[in-house]
């Protein structure tokens, strides 16, 4: 039994004991973005793709493709605002 087959409808007989998870690398399946109280907004027009924001994100919530950052991954962003603080161009606004 893996956590993929377990959800909030699973009867108790089919749950693993103690809630054990018998599979590695599954933290990304837990959508911690639900906890967010403030939300970063990406303003692409102001962004110079300087690359300062994504290394400081504690949750790896700023996807990067071909050296360019994309919009936020809100499944895991907790809205800490570190990215908005380091952005020199005002391309990230906290709302």
């Amino acid at each position: 039994m893996t956590e993929n087959e377990i959800n909030s409808k699973t009867p108790y007989q089919d749950l693993t004991i103690g809630g054990n998870i018998y599979k590695a690398g599954n933290a990304k399946e837990f959508k911690t973005g639900d906890w967010r109280s403030t939300t970063p907004c990406f303003i692409p027009e102001k962004c110079k793709q300087c690359g300062l924001c994504y290394p400081v994100c504690p949750e790896d919530s700023i996807p990067v493709k071909d050296g360019k950052r994309l919009d936020f991954d809100f499944d895991s962003c907790k809205g800490c605002g570190v990215c908005a603080k380091v952005c020199p161009f005002g391309a990230i606004e906290m709302k």
Partner: protein
């Protein structure tokens, strides 16, 4: 051939642990259980066991280390008493909810305060709802035997619950009595090898233990624990039967002493059962039909079985060596009486809180209980069902 010895209860527990040879023992000294890890650490130093002995800085750490070791796939054991168990409290629940079959030797002592280091059952009663199996032992032999049986019960696939073996502090733990030890190789064979299905150190299967378990899951996991505790009843009897085949010593959920034709009986646990049996013998000589029911398995509680065993009696006294301070009666009394009620068995039953803080309970005290029961049978009047046995100032 079994080995005849003379040992204290603590020595008996330490020798059982030596023969079990667990992977990890993590313990912190506390009176009256101190000698168990003390003797055991000698076995470690002498190379008699392969165990990793963790000399932790507190009981909270002792239980935490046992949890770590057991989740990693090892067999972990510990020993404690009273306030040591209180300090473990948080981790006691973690151990049972993570379904880790840790085995503890609990040497019963009053939980302070005011400060007291002597025997009562307030420590064990404090964790009676924590999901641990609790076995009680009348003497050093039973403390030893229960420990030898412990892993086979706790580690059973249908159970997977931690287990504590209780014995009375000082009264049993420090009294030297005759004992019959089982040969090392027989114990080794009986206890077997611990082979958990899932464990943290299995590099073939990386797992997570104790994850976040919110509204959608904890309820179901609690139901699993409840089912495991029910399943433990069958497993305890099976293991006890196998033990009897090896040693000839018979164990069930409880011992019925002269209960067959008894009219009045006492229900109690641990060493007081010995005093109660001696009193019972004395009264039998006078033609009084007295009996004793000694509870061995307190968790899971054999409610139906106890109720049935008491059903033919005319009056019952339940002796609690700890008070629940609930203005109604001790824990054993409440469990026994609710078991009787649910099974539609109605025998006049009275509770005696006794022996708190190591107060001696003598044959004379127990005799008074039987006399009170005779009076209840005669008059049909219980008056006060919640009594203190032999407390000063009580009439």
């Amino acid at each position: 051939m079994s080995i005849r010895e003379r040992l204290s209860g603590n020595e008996a527990a330490a020798i059982a642990m030596k023969q079990i040879n667990p992977d990890v023992v993590a313990a912190f000294p506390i009176t009256p259980s101190t000698e168990i890890p003390q003797y055991f650490s000698t076995f470690v130093s002498n190379g008699t066991v392969d165990t990793e002995f963790v000399a932790v800085e507190s009981e909270h750490s002792a239980m935490s280390a046992c949890i770590g070791a057991e989740s990693a796939g090892g067999r972990a054991m510990t020993a404690t008493s009273a306030n040591g168990l209180s300090l473990m409290w948080e981790m006691i629940y973690i151990a049972s909810s993570l379904r880790l079959p840790i085995v503890m030797s609990l040497v019963n002592r009053a939980v302070s305060g005011p400060l007291n280091i002597h025997c009562d059952h307030s420590d064990a009663m404090g964790v009676r709802d924590s999901g641990w199996i609790q076995l009680f032992s009348e003497n050093n032999q039973e403390a030893y035997d229960n420990l030898i049986m412990a892993h086979q019960i706790a580690e059973n696939k249908d159970v997977l619950l931690p287990l504590m073996v209780c014995q009375d502090g000082f009264i049993t733990s420090h009294s030297i009595e005759n004992i019959e030890l089982i040969e090392d190789d027989k114990v080794k064979e009986f206890v077997g090898k611990y082979e958990p299905e899932h464990y943290l150190l299995n590099h073939e299967e990386p797992i997570a233990v104790g994850p976040l378990d919110l509204q959608a899951y904890l309820f179901e996991h609690k139901k699993q624990q409840a089912d495991a505790m029910v399943a433990a009843k069958k497993v305890i009897l099976e293991v006890s039967e196998r033990f009897e085949k090896m040693t000839g010593r018979k164990y069930g959920f409880f011992e019925e002493y002269k209960l067959d034709d008894a009219e009045i009986a006492i229900v109690c646990m641990n060493s007081t059962a010995g005093t109660a049996k001696a009193t019972c013998d004395k009264l039998r000589e006078q033609g009084i039909k007295a009996g004793v029911l000694k509870v061995r398995v307190f968790r899971p509680f054999p409610a139906e079985e106890i109720a049935k065993a008491l059903s033919k009696l005319k009056a019952v006294a339940v002796l609690d060596k700890a008070d629940s301070l609930n203005a109604a009666g001790g824990a054993l009394f409440e469990d026994v009486t609710s078991g009787m009620f649910v099974n539609n068995i109605h025998v006049p039953t009275v509770n005696y809180v006794y022996g708190i803080g190591g107060r001696d309970t003598t044959v004379t005290d127990i005799e008074k209980v039987y006399k009170d029961l005779e009076e209840i049978v005669k008059t049909g009047d219980i008056k006060n069902p919640y009594r203190y046995l032999g407390v000063r100032g009580d009439n």
